[in-house]
Symmetry: C2
Subunit: 124 residues, 2 copies
DNA sequence: TGATAATTGATAATCTATTATCATTATTGT
DNA sequence: ACAATAATGATAATAGATTATCAATTATCA
């Protein structure tokens, strides 16, 4: 009940080799170069399997389409370039942000999202 | 070209008197108590006018429906209670978060979102 | 008060990402 | 190679929030 297929391999390879989170569309465009004829539905099916297995993570950034990123384990945050619309991973964290909550609130997780221009777009 | 109506007043009053961001549905339910028969479309029309005029702001939190909050001017962030699904405003900020971006990136704004349980839900 | 133009309520339509459907094709264990 | 079953591709369908449409109602001001 879990065959190995070229379509799944293609999706997994695309995600695993990307330095930044990608949209389902981007993944589709890149993966179909490895497996022509690949359907978008199969991309979603593969993404679903990967996220359920904790191999990939859905990244939701207000103001942009849903992105998917390979699960590399380390805690990090994101940057959305409002010019090219690409999402970048940011290293590190400012853990003190959890102190912004009232003392009686229980903070389980947090997100820090920066918006602006990436290196390439900032130069123009 | 801008009549004063009870429906708009109702929507504005609901938003302006709420301590936390509300969804369009919540605003509708509260505002129709002030103006019976109020339609959801009118709520959206009022929200659109208010946000365009910078009197209200759309608050998007991954994992929850869109919320709207009255524009009170002070910089702040949000907390989503994953139990009751309500969004709360948090006072203050940890400005160092902007340093998470690579030096050549230009950071224009940022969002900090905390997730967990609000006071009421944490007790249960 | 009346004419004029904006607003409203009900609801159909839209939008975008994702899922369901189903006939066809491919993978697996024997 | 073969039967059994899972995976695929094309596309219709779905979901949730918001917008468009349009006849009926209402605010405004001369």
């Amino acid at each position: 009940m879990n065959y190995t297929t070229k379509q799944r391999d293609a999706v997994e390879q695309v995600l695993a080799s990307s330095a930044r989170p990608l949209t389902a569309q981007e993944i589709w465009e890149l993966a179909r170069k490895k497996k022509s004829g690949l359907g978008i539905a199969t991309v979603y099916r593969a993404l679903k399997t990967l996220t359920k297995g904790s191999k990939a993570v859905l990244v939701e950034i207000p103001g942009s389409a849903p992105h998917y990123e390979w699960q590399r384990g380390r805690h990090h945050h994101h940057f959305l370039c409002e010019s090219c619309q690409r999402v970048f991973e940011l290293e590190g964290c400012v853990h003190q942000v959890v102190d912004l909550a009232p003392k009686k609130f229980k903070v389980k997780r947090h997100e820090i999202i920066l918006y602006g221009s990436c290196e390439g777009c900032a130069q123009k």
